[in-house]
């Protein structure tokens, strides 16, 4: 069974937002709701400025707080390492939204269930990449099986300095960020 992860090379993101648009279109994400976002941070003081682009989405954590808190088992961890939502079982209690340290969930305005990135599970079943990865013009977003040592993501994580978001929460995320700038230890 594969262990799917996403690797995001921040230095390759050009901020075109095609990933956000592709995700919305692929997954019929309702108006004014998003499964992925791009955070643009400008640090420093003029003229010494630097911009950091960071794509964010569900981290499909190994220790997912949303899965632990879900009272009905609607949010669950699959064998391929992804966190999915069984919409039928969701009661809309919103505990998973409160439990997620990455704030990537929302309530579907029409149906009332909790919703988030699924790593485009329907596309994975067809052997395709998630829509955001397929559309990423700068190859900033990469996707693959971490258990396959020859996969692109395994190679990238061996060769580069990377980090995960909010490691102090202890969720063991499956989305890795290749550092755009050298970070102070």
């Amino acid at each position: 069974m594969p262990r799917y992860v996403m690797v995001i090379d921040q230095s390759r993101c050009i901020g075109c937002m095609a990933c956000v648009a592709a995700c919305k279109r692929e997954n019929n994400v309702p108006m004014e709701h998003f499964r992925t976002r791009v955070v643009e941070m400008v640090r420093g003081e003029f003229p010494q400025l630097r911009t950091e682009m960071r794509s964010e989405l569900c981290n499909h954590c190994d220790h997912a707080p949303c899965v632990s808190i879900c009272p009905t088992g609607a949010s669950h961890k699959q064998k391929d390492g992804t966190v999915q939502i069984n919409r039928k079982k969701c009661v809309g209690c919103k505990a998973c939204i409160a439990a997620c340290p990455y704030d990537v969930r929302y309530i579907h305005p029409e149906h009332g269930w909790a919703d988030k990135c699924s790593f485009c599970q329907h596309r994975l079943k067809e052997g395709k990449e998630p829509a955001c990865v397929a559309t990423c013009i700068g190859r900033s977003r990469m996707f693959g099986d971490l258990d396959d040592p020859n996969s692109e993501v395994s190679h990238l994580l061996r060769e580069n300095s990377w980090r995960v978001l909010k490691p102090e929460v202890g969720t063991q995320p499956h989305v890795y960020y290749i550092n755009q700038f050298p970070r102070k230890s």
């Binding site: 707080p65 632990s68 009272p71 609607a74 009661v91 809309g92 409160a98 340290p101 929302y106």
Partner: protein, 324 residues
């Protein structure tokens, strides 16, 4: 730093706001209901030594499930798919406090109703038109003491579990404290004692629960101080999480106000109760004495409600790191 986000969801940005007054009302009523279960049980269990207040002995056991049902009604209003709530009972998740809560309420409700039926005096039972129900209440009467003991424990569980639910959310540093369930337990018990004081008819019962409430409020205030101290000495996220309560800025004024009100209402309630306990009383309480007792009980209820509201709303402001 300048920040722009493409793709932020309104429910989590700029701050999370998933739960509102409906959840706070549920936490308040659920805690109070738990407090009423335990306090009315204490009223029975202690009856070997002293007289039992006729009003407290059956009205409180009847009130407790009604208050819990009202709380659950508000909680259900908060669900975005209320008609799918049956899924709570098609799964048991041992690590989900919300799952425990759903099953706990299911187990507690029959216990509360059996206790209420067993506690009904004959005069009240005579008014029940349904003969089967009347007969069942008669059958339950010999088990009153056993049911009272079970209700005492169940009340503690009910009052504490709402705090456990919030404290298990690691992503929200304000809630993520093992002290929070104890604070909610104390606050729920104190609210229960306050209602007992208001409902009780005899001076002896009123004074007994006034003494109980003094200790509960002292414990509640001590735990509240420890809660803030624990956050203050914790990591940056925990320290930041309590900041709204101690900031006088416009954005956080309601939280600052809540601490001021709690800081005035609960100590004032202790003083009033202390005066009641130490004061000279005639056989029957005077009108002013009664008013004083009810006023201090109302102060306790206000404090208890504000703690729930402030925690529910302020907890949603807290988080790890934000978008930095």
């Amino acid at each position: 730093m300048e920040l722009s986000i493409t793709g932020a969801n309104a429910i989590t940005y700029p701050v999370m706001h998933v739960w509102d007054w409906r959840v706070a009302v549920y936490l308040f009523l659920g805690g109070m209901s738990g407090g009423l279960m335990s306090m009315s049980a204490i009223n029975y269990i202690r009856s070997k030594k002293g007289p039992v207040d006729s009003a407290c002995s059956w009205q409180i056991p009847v009130m407790a499930p009604i208050i819990l049902a009202i709380g659950l009604f508000f909680l259900n209003l908060d669900l975005s798919r209320p008609f799918h709530a049956f899924w709570f009972y098609l799964a048991f998740k041992p690590v989900s406090p919300m799952s425990w809560g759903a099953w706990l309420v299911l187990a507690i409700f029959p216990l509360m109703i059996l206790y209420a039926l067993s506690a009904l005096p004959n005069a009240v039972k005579a008014k029940i038109k349904h003969a089967g129900l009347r007969g069942f209440a008669d059958k339950m009467q010999p088990h009153l003491l056993k049911l009272a003991k079970a209700n005492f424990l169940a009340g503690i569980l009910l009052a504490i579990y709402t705090g456990i639910l919030l404290s298990s959310l690691v992503a929200r540093p304000l809630w993520n404290s093992a002290i929070l369930p104890i604070l909610f337990l104390c606050s729920g018990m104190s609210a229960g004692a306050a209602v007992m004081i208001m409902v009780a008819k005899t001076k002896e019962t009123k004074l007994f629960f006034t003494k109980v409430d003094i200790w509960l409020i002292i414990a509640e205030l001590t735990i509240l101080l420890l809660f803030f101290y624990g956050h203050y000495t914790g990591d940056a996220a925990h320290r930041q999480a309590i900041m709204p309560f101690f900031s006088t800025s416009h954005d956080f004024f309601p939280y600052f106000l809540s601490i001021v009100i709690i800081g005035v209402a609960l100590p004032l309630a202790i003083v009033l109760k202390f005066l009641e306990v130490t004061g000279e009383h005639t056989d029957e309480l005077t009108a002013s004495g009664l008013m004083l007792m009810n006023a201090s009980a109302v102060l306790v209820l206000i404090g208890s409600a504000i703690i729930r509201f402030a925690m529910v709303y302020a907890g949603q402001l807290s988080g790890y790191g934000g978008y930095m």
